[in-house]
Symmetry: C2
Subunit: 421 residues, 2 copies
């Protein structure tokens, strides 16, 4: 008998019919002899509808109240799934994040989990109940107010509960069959990966693979908790995320996949004095504006004591704020101008095999050159190469790299619509 | 500076526009210098929509999960009103029933308030915040599960909070202008009452006046807490419910109003042995089926050791269950048959003045006779006369009694649509 945590996204519980289907799947697991803990996101568009309402009554809704409002969504979906399970003859009990002991920081809208004290869940499991927990939410350690965890919050809830309950596996049910070697909407013969290591999954998530959020993978890695990413519409096995690249014999390591990301913009600060401390001033300014940066490139200046340029990427949404912040400090820092380009895309090749296969970078660049794709920026890690290209070249870059590194399978991937929270 | 608890029904917060209007009214009170605690029901049809969803996934939804589901409604409305208040420049904080310290029994769907420990509310009031509390809900003392209070729950929440916080008044905002001498939809010149004593209000509520629920009036009476029933659509003063009939000088006491109720059904048990203990058997059987009875009539049997009939009324909904329960015991108890009639209505005249004005019962019966209304059953208290009539005679009975006792005013009452929870 195993202890399984299952997480279902918003599209999996979008209406009564789907709620019933999810309940059937849960009851199957339960009847197979497993203890089951379930985390559901809010139904379909509930969160957007609630946000709409909030905007209608307040131009800038206070974060505490927004959390109070949005957490109603998961409360509804979890209670409904509990009812649907009871209809099938099993006993079920739903809990709010607070009742489940999900203790968080007090930052409304993007709280972080500090601790999980699942005493009530363990009691319910001991009574042979299916346990449902509202995802995406917790309770602030200091104020005891309701908090939400921000993007990927329900996945993170599931992984955190699995870790606290010492579950055998955390199953993330979603609208795709697993993790693919590339986005099947761009690369029709993308291959579903049977297993991926945590490190590779972290790079994939950081590079735009949307199936799992970075924070949830980080959490699972820290607690050595296997994640099974699979489809809520089929019974096929999905992708198991577990283990470390260190445990893969060097000779066996392969390239994993090609990820892409359209959510970044490129900021170039032109004409910075090429002296110690100036780059630091730039990045301090951006950090002060609470903007995360991703790739960074600094050109070498041609003459000593001359000028240099610094380019970095940041999320689209934060681009204008980054530019405004830098412009406001132009005189103080002493650069010439700021250039902004949001028509860019990032394509990344990821795989533990990169360590043992020389020439990957060369093949990578040759492939893009052969396909007429210009490289703007390059950034690498031990198991990843990422480049920034023009957004109109992005799909071509993904397809050609996927082909060049022979990552495809013989069959076409199934693509479903929608996405969860 | 007063401490005011305001309660708004579901129709008062049915959409974003109404939420904004409610917020304006709250901010007015706050700016006038009062401390304000607000209880809102769920928006418009939210509760019905959630019940619909529940029915779609489960034929007999477990009560615990139903409470978890339904309490999402008040959470949403209160968070939205808090946001709308912030938009107007005041600070507001919403609390769930559990956070507000509304401790209840564990009977899901119809929990009773055991205690209110409003520490967090007092802290927020101390910080000059407008406090919002989700009505209709609490937390079970034993299981710490979320509970709902059943019908009239939001009003009861408001009154209980007002009592615990030692508020100066509890304002119940609704879709009528106050308590009327009769239902204005039946009697166009019904008079809005400026004040009503708790005893009279209890009788009115028990006899079908739907503006305030019995339990909320009982709560207010116990804590000597004045209730101000008023319209959320106008600034006109409504009706103050306070004081006792004992404090009204006998000479000043008047008749208050005519109430009616179509929600009851009549059950007659025919041919019961006229011996001690048989009536008790009947009522024990009905009580065992968890059915509340209202009026009771037992005819005197014509011969010693003969047979008698017992008639009682109970809610429509429970009628068939009462009949079935009695039928199942027919042999054991030894009566002849059970008659059932749900085409009945109850009309009641209420007023402290009844104690000091002889002849009220005579005028009451004469009026109905003059209007061709047959009386089925009579039941009285110190300040009330109620009779059961055929349902088609009900409106005529209300109108003629209201006229005969000269309860009307010179102007027509304003009637709004909808009703709250």
């Amino acid at each position: 008998m195993a202890l399984v945590v299952q997480k279902y996204g918003g599209s999996s519980v979008a209406d009564a019919e789907r709620v019933r289907r999810v309940a059937e799947r849960i009851v199957e697991s339960k009847k197979a002899g497993d203890d089951v803990v379930v985390v559901c996101s809010a139904m379909g568009d509930t969160t957007d509808d609630l946000l709409d309402l909030a905007q209608q009554v307040c131009s800038n809704p206070p974060a505490r109240e927004l959390d109070m409002l949005l957490t109603a969504g998961e409360r509804i979906s979890n209670a409904l799934v509990a009812m649907a399970i009871e209809e099938l003859g099993c006993q079920a009990r739903s809990f709010t994040g607070s009742q489940a002991g999900v203790i968080t920081t007090g930052v409304h809208g993007k709280a972080k989990i500090i601790d999980v004290t699942p005493g009530r869940l363990q009691d319910a499991l001991g009574q042979d109940q299916v346990v449902l927990v509202a995802g995406f939410q917790g309770v602030s350690q200091d104020t005891k107010d309701v908090t939400t965890l921000g993007r990927g919050g329900s996945d993170t809830t599931a992984v955190a509960l699995a870790a606290a309950l010492k579950a055998d596996v955390c199953e993330i049910y979603t609208d795709v069959d697993g993790i693919f070697s590339a986005d099947p909407r761009i690369v029709p013969n993308a291959r579903k990966l049977a297993t991926v290591t945590f490190e590779e999954m972290l790079e994939l998530a950081a590079c735009g693979a949307k199936v799992l959020m970075l924070r949830c993978v980080e959490y699972a890695r820290r607690y050595h908790l296997p994640i099974h990413v699979r489809s809520s519409y089929s019974d096929k096995p999905g992708t198991i995320v577990s283990g470390s690249i260190k445990d893969i014999p060097m000779e066996d390591a392969l390239l994993t996949g090609v990820a892409h990301d359209k959510s970044e913009a490129k900021v170039t600060v032109v004409g910075i004095p090429d002296l110690p401390g100036y780059a630091a001033k730039i990045f301090r300014a951006v950090a002060d504006a609470d903007i995360n940066i991703d790739m960074v490139l600094q050109n070498v200046s041609k003459v000593e004591g001359g000028k240099t340029d610094i380019t970095f990427t940041c999320p689209h949404d934060s681009g204008p704020a980054a530019v405004a912040k830098l412009e406001s400090l132009r005189g103080e820092i002493g650069f010439t101008e700021v250039l902004y380009d949001d028509k860019v895309g990032k394509v990344s090749l990821i795989g533990a095999g990169m360590r043992s296969h020389p020439g990957v970078t060369a093949t990578f660049c040759e492939t893009l050159a052969d396909n007429g794709v210009n490289i703007d920026l390059i950034s690498t890690s031990e198991i990843r190469i990422s480049v920034l290209v023009h957004e109109t070249d992005l799909d071509k870059a993904v397809r050609s790299l996927h082909e060049a590194f022979n990552l495809g399978s013989d069959e076409e991937a199934t693509v479903y619509g929608g996405t969860g929270r």
